[in-house]
């Protein structure tokens, strides 16, 4: 199973095996990773599963759709490497992905 690393903004990190097909958000929720709220449950309506994707992964993951970019406008302290983790679907290609959660989600 692909391994995904979740870091918080204090450099604490947890690496977890996440099943293919789940989103990076679901991987976090199912494994009690704090820092990802996912209030809307993955319908891309709330921007509380916001993460910063490690730079080297930015070009390896599918680009954000317009609706995701619009939603990221609402996120807490968005940056160039901001993504909504509900839109990142885990696959073998994402094995080793590292995401960092922002200081808070709202």
């Amino acid at each position: 199973m692909p391994k995904i690393t979740y870091k918080d903004n204090h450099e604490n990190s947890k690496t977890i095996e996440v099943e293919n097909g789940l989103s990076v958000m679901e991987g976090a929720i199912q494994n009690d990773i704090s820092g990802i709220d996912a209030d809307c449950g993955g319908s891309m309506a709330c921007a509380t599963c916001h993460v910063y994707v490690e730079e080297k992964w930015l070009n390896k993951i599918p680009k954000a759709e317009e609706a995701e970019v619009d939603m990221i406008d609402m996120a807490y302290e968005p940056k160039k490497n901001s993504r909504l983790s509900c839109q990142l679907i885990v696959s073998d290609e994402l094995d080793g992905l590292t995401v960092t959660t922002p200081e808070k989600q709202s």
């Binding site: 319908s43 309506a45 921007a47 406008d73 609402m74 807490y76 160039k80």
Partner: protein
């Protein structure tokens, strides 16, 4: 203090359908919601997005679903209290007393919490000391536009609220519109009006940049924004309007002594009662083994909870299960002949 059979907290789809399930059993309810209208997440988060999993409704938007539910519960003449958040829940023998932030008080033997993920509140600016200016020169909504006349106003955001207020307030104030990227998200005719105003020099647009700091003793005097390339700029500002949407906050619900599981309320799956007799939780806010956060699950949950509500509200009457197709009582309550 207002007396009723059931106090429903939350006017989302599940709260609205609760009115129906209680209404056909002859129970009266009041509905309290922190938003200014019914619909909850359906209206606030995805009014235009189609929903495909409402039984017998192949496709409808959040707005249509809300409209139809309101139509369906019309016969019950239910009183709605909008823009109000329930702050306190207290026990009074077999009844509950609910107090809102507007100091309204209600009492009933039953409370149904259909609160979704909590109440909606504006997403606040994160820069240092922002809260110090809130309500004085920093605002998350416009209540009275006259207060924004003849001022230097910095508007943050890239969506409809930011764009619409830029257009409106630019008629009598100097507006700077600030957004983190150069694309705005709005109706094409709004965007073309904005572009026109900018070309005519009537408004100023700053992108891609974000708020760095607010400067000012008591009131805001200026702000500093930081561009993507690292450069900063100071902008004379009397008032900030910030439009970064709404967030959902569980708020006071966590303090009512209910058994919680993360941000949800634990219930049994027979009548969706919490650990407190007469307090029920339904829809996205409740949790039980196998819970699915679907609107249709919420509809089922209120149907069952309403039976227990009946037993508590009418302890001397026997509950009789009835079908809407054949019950004269129900048809009377629905105003059908």
């Amino acid at each position: 203090m207002k007396k009723t059979d059931v106090i429903i907290i939350g006017a989302g789809p599940v709260g609205l359908f609760a009115v129906h399930q209680l209404g056909i059993k002859g129970l009266k309810a009041v509905v309290i919601d922190n938003l200014d209208k019914a619909g909850g997440q359906c209206i606030e988060l995805y009014p235009d997005k189609p929903i495909y999993d409402i039984p017998a409704v192949p496709e409808c938007t959040g707005e249509e679903l809300t409209k139809n539910l309101l139509e369906q519960i019309k016969p019950f003449n239910t009183e709605f209290f909008y823009n109000e958040r329930v702050d306190e829940v207290k026990q009074d023998k077999d009844n509950w007393i609910v107090k809102t932030n507007k100091k309204n008080e209600f009492t009933a033997p039953n409370i149904i919490i259909a609160g979704g993920v909590g109440s909606f509140e504006p997403r606040k600016l994160s820069v240092k000391d922002a809260e110090k200016y809130e309500g004085k020169s920093l605002f998350y909504s416009v209540k009275n536009k006259d207060e924004f006349k003849n001022k230097n106003i910095s508007i943050f955001g890239g969506g409809d609220s930011a764009l619409d207020w830029t257009l409106e307030l630019s008629k009598f104030s100097k507006i700077t519109l600030i957004h983190r990227r150069s694309d705005f998200r709005g109706a094409p005719h709004t965007l073309s009006k904005i572009k026109k105003l900018e070309n005519e020099g009537k408004i100023s647009i700053k992108t891609p940049c974000q708020l760095e700091s607010i400067i000012g003793e008591k009131n805001i005097e200026s702000i500093s924004i930081k561009f993507e390339d690292g450069k900063s700029e100071k902008i004379k500002t009397d008032a900030i309007l910030s439009f970064f949407g709404l967030v959902m906050k569980l708020g006071p619900i966590a303090e009512w002594g209910l058994n919680m599981n993360k941000k949800t309320i634990e219930v049994n799956s027979e009548n969706f009662e919490t650990n407190k007799k007469g307090i029920f939780a339904v829809g996205d806010i409740c949790s039980y083994p196998g819970k699915l956060k679907l609107i249709l699950s919420g509809f089922h949950e209120v149907a069952l909870a309403s039976v227990e509500c009946f037993k508590r509200a009418r302890p001397n009457e026997k509950y009789r299960f009835e079908f809407t197709t054949s019950s004269k009582n129900i048809q009377d309550r629905l105003g059908k002949k």
